[in-house]
Symmetry: C2
Subunit: 289 residues, 2 copies
């Protein structure tokens, strides 16, 4: 897992413009927002899915970097004063605190463009049809029917008491869509999967994504700010519905376990090639930050 | 020209999610920011360049729509209070005034994703290699080495007295990169151009883009808010260097004419196929808003 984290770190370092290139302040801020932090869960999922299809690690690292650039941009924008208004992220001041709001907006915008630039490059995989399909998939996952739409639903729902299906609808968009893209892009880097196997991976990604979110909600109340690297207790302070506020800690923990079991069941047919996806599921559910 | 404007309007209408789809408020705001306004200069350039290579209008309309989505997103973000802080755009309240700041951030983010989703779709052109090349080109033009980078340079330069080369450096990024992309994407929809013809088009786009900007600076001091559909006199109020503040009105007008002549010279070798590009150059320079 550490090896994969290093590979995606290297890929990110490679694709991000140097901080010495003009406009230097923007490039410095882009690197600040992306490098040297984060659990890199989405890239790890790409690598694990890539192993199912014997994908070349170099391809997966670039596809995973593209997904992580989208994730990093979303964090920068979500932390803005007009959004979740947060000052701490990955143990450091958020981008608009370290720089300024205008720069943070442009950092997010530029990271999104860079993600598609990376996917369109022939280094990812020689077949242009695969690359353009990756672009399409990531664009849908990032946009108004995916991640950005989920954030809109989240903002609209703040202060409201959501039902469990409404919470799930929000998270399937806000975090689920990109986690699904991470898995499917990793798998797209290797030998072509039959539609059954793709459906297994997709089902896995759905449950793993929801498990990730339930654990996130648990950690928000159970861990401290120093461990999380972001402000703890934020959901309650902002009157957001979470799996914990709706179900309570004990039932939320049970739900996380159920989702883990569903995720593992989804990839049973893939046999030993899905070993690393299994390990990752455990990592997602037992993590402490 | 009117026919082309209608075709891109139809394409935009088609690719934007319906305002009834969840999240409805976000989709409504995306449509508000894009539809029913704007000169559609970039799409017109795509159509004109497409005519050089007998490109199918249906392909060009989608490629042009992708470029216009990027342009529309940039206006929404540039108008934010932390950026240029403007309340009027295309004769209507800006997106964050009509909705709210958080929605405006997400509208811009979602429009950018949508642009790449559109370009990745097989409806643009059957050849995936061409589509992925279009994605790469638009991503570079939109990102930190293009449009977003130009906006960063603009914000950093506010209050400073820029030289003409520094102004040009800013505008080649801020508006030039996307105008270049509009021309090259339009041309990519048709029969393959030899590298000489591509270079002619690229040179044309550079001069036409700068001419567009010089005229923009002139209109900011010479036209009124009602005609412009955006706040007139803003550059001086915000202490921004412009071609007018640096050169004065008479010399800025001369520069616009020189740039028009250079643009026309660049496409002379393309003969009658570039007729519409010639017409557009005149439109760019003599426009009143």
């Amino acid at each position: 897992m550490r090896a994969h984290q290093l590979q995606v770190e290297e890929a990110l370092e490679l694709v991000l413009p140097a901080a010495t290139l003009a406009p230097a302040r923007l490039h410095e801020a882009m690197r600040y927002a992306v490098l040297g932090g984060g659990k890199r869960i989405r890239p790890l999922l790409s690598f694990a899915a890539g192993e199912v299809v014997q994908a070349p690690p170099r391809s997966v690292a670039l596809a995973a970097a593209a997904v992580e650039l989208i994730h990093a941009y979303s964090l920068v924008h979500d932390d803005l004063p007009c959004m979740d208004d947060d000052v701490l992220r990955r143990g450091k001041p958020t981008c608009h605190v370290a720089y300024d709001e205008a720069t943070a907006v442009l950092v997010g915008d530029s990271l999104q463009s860079l993600a598609f630039q990376v996917l369109a490059g022939h280094e990812v995989t020689p077949d242009p049809g695969t690359r353009v399909e990756m672009v399409r998939h990531l664009a849908v996952a990032a946009g108004s029917r995916g991640m950005a739409g989920g954030q809109a639903i989240d903002l609209q729902s703040t202060g409201m008491e959501l039902s469990v299906p409404a919470l799930e609808f929000m998270h399937v968009h806000k975090t689920g869509a990109l986690i699904r893209a991470a898995v499917l892009l990793g798998a797209a880097c290797g030998s072509t999967l039959d539609s059954d196997s793709t459906a297994h991976l997709d089902r896995y990604a759905k449950f793993a994504g929801l498990a990730f979110q339930v654990v996130d909600d648990l950690l928000d109340v159970q861990a401290d700010t120093a461990t999380l690297g972001k402000t703890a207790g934020k959901d309650a302070a902002q009157h957001k519905s979470t799996y914990v506020s709706v179900l309570g800690i004990a039932r939320a923990r049970e739900l996380a376990e159920d989702l883990r079991a569903e995720a593992l069941r989804a990839i049973e047919p893939l046999g030993p090639s899905a070993r690393r996806l299994r390990d990752l599921t455990d990592f997602i559910v037992v993590r402490t930050h």
